[in-house]
Amino acid sequence: MATPTLDKMEEAAAASPYITVTFRIRRFNPEISDESQWQDFQIEIDPKERVLDGLHKIKWDLDGTLTFRRSCAHGICGSDAMRINGKNRLACKTLIKDINPEKPITVEAIKGLTVMKDLVVDMEPFFQAYRDVMPFLVTKGNEPTRERLQSAEDRERFDDTTKCILCAACTSSCPVFWNDGQYFGPAAIVNAHRFIFDSRDEAGEQRLEILNDKDGVWRCRTTFNCTDACPRGIEVTKAIQEVKRALITRRF
């Protein structure tokens, strides 16, 4: 085993870690104005802290009106997807040091969903698309008394798409979705994939028909924005391609 020694992280912790960072945030509050505007905040922060920590410092110390969603603060609950330096990320999984704190850090709401206030968007269309793909196990016949059997290989087949936390980072990074909110979007397709490729499920055909719609998988232009945006590392574009292939071959 590795014997514990003073490592580089601990040496760094001995010196004062704080740096000054500018957060440039797109503010919007229809109670005050119909227009959004950029506002700069300067804060002292340890670069090993999260963007979410920076937003909290602003909200708690400088401007209580700054509004955003957050909960778990470690990339599990999916509340705090936002556009940081032009890319969709979770604020709680993005460390200051990893996004060049020399320059102002821009933070704005994810695109393609209506902004309600500051970084808060209307999630309802996103969840509606999710609900529309029948995101639940469908089986026929009598239930077994014990668990259904599934081989480790069959379980592995859809493992990647079970990781989705419904944060909307993928869907709101998709140029097709920006142009046409009717498109199901990557997250809904990922969640359809999760059941289509589950050996226990018996509604794959129905889900494929739903996604064969004009607003379904064929709208995907394979730009890979969704894959880049996914904070869970899901190969979103690959999952969409697998659904397309299943539609052609009807094998899944």
């Binding site: 514990p4 009106t65 509004t67 909960s71 493992d159 936390i165």
Partner: protein
Amino acid sequence: MKIHKYDTVIVGAGGAGMRAAIEATKRSRTAVLTKLYPTRSHTGAAQGGMAAALANVEEDNWEWHTFDTVKGGDYLVDQDAAEILAKEAIDAVLDLEKMGLPFNRTPDGTIDQRRFGGHSRNHGEAPVRRSCYAADRTGHMILQTLYQNCVKEGVEFFNEFYVLDQLLVEEDGVKKSAGVVAYELATGEIHVFQAKAVIYASGGTGKFFKVTSNAHTLTGDGQAACYRRGLPLEDMEFFQFHPTGIWRMGILLTEGARGEGGILRNKDGERFMEKYAPVMKDLASRDVVSRSIYTEIREGRGCGPAGDHVYLDLTHLPPEQLDAKLPDITEFARTYLGIEPYTDPIPIQPTAHYAMGGIPTNVEGEVLADNTTVVPGLYAAGEVACVSVHGANRLGTNSLLDINVFGKRSGIAAAKYSQENDFVELPENPAQQVADLVEHLRNSTGKERVADLRLELQETMDANVMVFRTEQTIKTAVEKIAELRERYKNVSVQDKGKRFNTDLLEAIELGNLLDLAEVMAVSALARKESRGGHYREDYPNRDDVNFMRHTMAYREVGADGSDSVRLDYKPVVTTRYQPMERKY
């Protein structure tokens, strides 16, 4: 103000709330009020597994599981409830599998199981593989599966509705639940939900600590709403400190890491748990491991320049095993610490994790107004509740189990109650208390700030009522909390708007935390013994003669309007197991 009428209202959409909703929706007109979107709940952060004696990989049975739960809880567990938990665990896991939960599988295709702290073969002989799991994201899978089934059943959700008051009305000399009052985040509007039955499933109170695995939103809203209306809170002094939180951040690293073979080491590289728990070693119960870690730190064997943490060592495990069984926590180490767990040990410290105490209920989930009297129409399940299946210390994997077993039970019981009873008439001006609270905070010009008070609260809780407690430290906390509660009267918010006013909600949440911190500290001060998660250095032994009983804390309001905590006690239900010395 809007008034809604539902047969059953469920407060909270985590594991317990959604498990209840699946049952209640089938049987009654049900609404789920949740301050977060359903899949944002902290159930999703649970990692390691859900215990059930399926015996898929080795011999096991529910009686051993019951014993481990009782012993783990240091005999403060109500044994009738623990027996139900362990017996119904098997169906609870099978239910989830049938709902679609993607458990890891054995080579035979059955649900795989692994070791977890405090779970043993034949009453403590050796660790047993009882935890059913899906990698290290079991809670995520449970939350997603339950939400998927809520979509399937057409459960009606009111998202971002904050329940701030519990309506109790006296009818025929009995206090009954009439409904709840909620604040809608999007609009600032107040809604009254008249309901025949109400189920609280709103989670824990961890945010009164600074180093915690809990979400920002775990602020004890349900406990506070009931407590303020005169209902008791049970065993609030018992809080679990999970041994392996990421150093300084508190983010959870599952006990499953030790279940897979991970080892805790001090600065000398010594596997120190062998000294404290010769049989179960790193898989002793969480209170034992957390105290051992702090003992190492206090005696100068902690790691780092300040000697303020120890290491979780996974470096001897094959990378393939880490990738397959612990993918999320190894990623946390990489993301938040810049550490590669294949080759380097992970700095950890105990982190405030779970409230064993809460709103007292019986095994049907019915809330108690005192030691025996049920509040008709009021239910609670999950971390907000105290059944009590966890006693003085919860075993790992028993909380995901608790939410499923007692979520289901309370959902069924509440819906049955709704079918058999009428609405209780709403009190006059049902929204008054909430309207007053919101207006007071919105209009206050006081100089105190929410963030300052919250930080002072968290710092005093960490310093004084964490893993080690004494009369002196608890008294310090009680005094500080009293000062903070006084200063809270002068708290003001900057955001005066109606739309998505999270500034206002944070102020309300702080008020909840302050009230519950007071209950916790006062309860801890009176318990002059050490048991499970409550360790008093000035009373290091368990005292079954004087303290083998549950604490029941009530809010007392004096003639001048000032309030205080009154303590009472409730007997522990003992069936099969007489208290023994607890050794691992």
